[in-house]
């Protein structure tokens, strides 16, 4: 797909959303979510660039539009998406012209304990060793 195709498609999408009414103008019109994004970190055939690098370049070209892209992954290394500038494949990133966003990893812990806290719901050593308590401690996803 040529870059101008992506431009046209995004323009068409934003137009179809209709006019903004009563919303904060700092919120983008379009959010794009790439789930299981580690699949994009494979190298393109006959290239030393990954699909993610290419996609990042395209998204940068769409920078004038009201667009924000998320990349989600639970099984990838952070460096596959956000690497130190001296090893980033982008010339502009390496020179400090462009600065990648910092990955977001502060998802929190023990969300499922908020309605069943220690000393409130679970009060004995038998309670806290039960499956009911143990499985609710920790990460949500």
């Amino acid at each position: 797909m040529k870059p101008e195709h992506a431009h046209r498609a995004l323009k068409k999408l934003i137009k179809s959303l209709g006019p903004r009414t009563g919303r904060d103008d700092t919120i983008p019109d379009v959010f794009v979510l790439f789930d299981e994004a580690h699949a994009l970190t494979e190298l393109k055939t006959h290239s030393n660039r990954t699909y993610f690098i290419e996609l990042r370049s395209v998204l940068h070209d769409l920078g004038d539009f009201s667009l924000f892209a998320f990349f989600l992954s639970t099984t990838s290394k952070i460096s596959q998406f956000a690497m130190p500038k001296d090893i980033d494949q982008s010339h502009r990133v390496g020179q400090g012209v462009l600065k990648p966003s910092l990955p977001f990893s502060d998802l929190g812990f023990d969300h499922l304990m908020r309605t069943r806290k220690i000393f409130d719901t679970f009060k004995t050593i038998g309670d806290v060793t039960s499956t009911e308590c143990v499985v609710h401690m920790g990460r949500p996803l």
């Binding site: 639970t74 952070i78 460096s79 690497m83 050593i125 308590c133 499985v135 609710h136 920790g138 990460r139």
Partner: protein, 457 residues
């Protein structure tokens, strides 16, 4: 999340259920499913921790998997940049290892610096993972504890502790697993479903020490005694105690470790390592005394201090005075002093002791074992004190006879700096480049006339 809180899952083997297993974690799956799926949660936790499918019992553990398992028990910090004795030593290699543990082995990312160069990950307290790690260490015949620890310490920049604290934490962890293995072979799942075992102080220590040493403990009277505490033997006093721990937490600040904190982390199944430069002790294991309720005033602890080399073939009572729970700030004299009737245990491990032994400590006067007294000069606490010397299968059950050499190697690795100097072809020359850096004379010979009498560890 609407699915998690809304419709129930019809079949545990349905495609939709397997899809949910991929994304959601333990609590969500538990809330959505029925009792038959508890084993799925257990299996999922193992799969995620090891990042491995297939028959787990035939798994040949990689070093990364060994690190993952041990990290969930011992709170291993792999973020350091200290010297690694084998393999790669570049910062990028170390960063890559941390990121691999985050990506594949459930280490939690807690900091990403702006330069993206050094990502920090921690083995956060997550009791289910610690319990399955215990299950792996106990039931998977290809997991060898001493081998795994040696591999991980050789491959990751982990602090062993200057005096062997990590080894003693391993011994306590293994003792707990031995108890579970011998008495709860099929703990999970059961209805009602305790996920983790409860055990007593005697259960733990009877699996830490060999029978002969443990009988010494059972017959011991208090080393330090409150005026209102009866002079009873250890075996009777600690009969009705309850413990719950399957992992360690490394607190970041010294003053965090007080008795209410210990009750809180016990609820997560944790014991506490001493914070950096913690005075008086290296680890604390809390227990409930004569109750099953999580009550602060009914909580006692096992206080542990570790020494590497046997400076004192004869146990030193001054060490125990420094382990006074009030002096260590585990307790507050004003609020806890008047009625701290829960007995405690204090153990010093002198790992480099030449003659393996376990000795019950007694004092010629109470003041030698305590530092805090009431108005009548009586100690404010009751303690049973012991000195354990050496790393030997004759004393310690976790030290299996055929692995003794490996434990001795691990003990030798506690002095990382010495390892750094001794690998030189001219270690004396290398030490001279660090004047005053240690107790070895090579740090002084070049610039000082007479050697000062250093108290070496």
């Amino acid at each position: 999340m609407r699915r998690a809180h809304g419709t129930s899952i019809v079949s545990p083997v349905s495609r939709s259920f397997r899809h949910i297993l991929t994304f959601y974690r333990w609590g969500t799956i538990y809330d959505c499913s029925d009792q038959r799926n508890l084993r799925s949660i257990h299996s999922l936790a193992i799969t995620k921790l090891l990042c491995a499918d297939g028959d787990p019992y035939s798994l040949q553990f990689s070093i990364d998997q060994q690190c993952a398992v041990l990290s969930q028990r011992l709170a291993l910090d792999i973020n350091g940049t200290t010297y690694v004795t084998s393999g790669s030593t570049s910062n990028y290699d170390m960063m890559d290892k941390v990121q691999l543990q985050i990506a594949n082995h459930l280490r939690v990312c807690i900091a990403i610096p702006e330069d993206l160069a050094t990502v920090r990950g921690v083995a956060a307290s997550e009791p289910i993972l610690s319990e399955v790690a215990s299950y792996i260490m106990t039931n998977y015949s290809n997991f060898n504890l001493s081998d795994a620890l040696l591999n991980v310490l050789n491959s990751y920049a982990i602090s062993h502790g200057e005096r062997g604290e990590l080894l003693v934490a391993v011994f306590f962890t293994r003792a707990r697993d031995l108890y579970v293995q011998r008495t709860h072979p099929r703990l999970f799942p059961r209805v009602p479903t305790p996920f983790c075992p409860i055990f007593s102080v005697k259960d733990l220590l009877s699996n830490l020490f060999q029978a002969r040493s443990f009988s010494t403990m059972l017959d011991s009277l208090p080393s330090v005694r409150r005026a209102d505490f009866p002079s009873q033997k250890f075996g009777a006093v600690f009969e009705n105690t309850k413990m719950h721990f399957n992992h360690m937490i490394q607190p970041l600040k010294q003053k965090v470790v007080v008795r209410p904190y210990l009750v809180a982390i016990m609820a997560r199944g944790a014991a506490a390592l001493g914070a950096n430069c913690q005075p008086g002790y290296d680890m604390v294991y809390p227990f409930l005394y004569n109750t099953s309720d999580l009550v602060i005033k009914k909580t006692g602890f096992i206080i542990v201090q570790v020494k590497n080399h046997a400076n004192f073939l004869k146990p030193d009572p001054h060490l125990f005075r420094g382990m006074d729970p009030f002096a260590c700030k585990l307790l507050d004299k004003d609020s806890d002093g008047p009625d701290f009737t829960v007995p405690i245990i204090r153990i010093v491990f002198s790992l480099g002791g030449e003659r393996p032994s376990l000795n019950h400590i007694t004092y010629e006067s109470p003041g030698l074992g305590a530092a805090t007294f009431d108005a009548n000069k009586h100690p404010l606490f009751t303690s049973y004190d012991f000195w354990c010397s050496g790393v030997s299968p004759d004393i310690l059950q976790p030290v299996e006879g055929d692995a003794l050499t490996k434990w001795e190697i691990l003990l030798g690795k506690t002095d990382q700096w010495e390892g750094l100097f001794s690998t030189s072809k001219a270690p004396d020359v290398r030490r001279s480049q660090y004047p005053g850096g240690g107790s070895n004379n090579d740090h002084y010979d070049a610039w000082m006339l007479d050697n000062i009498p250093l108290d070496s560890e």
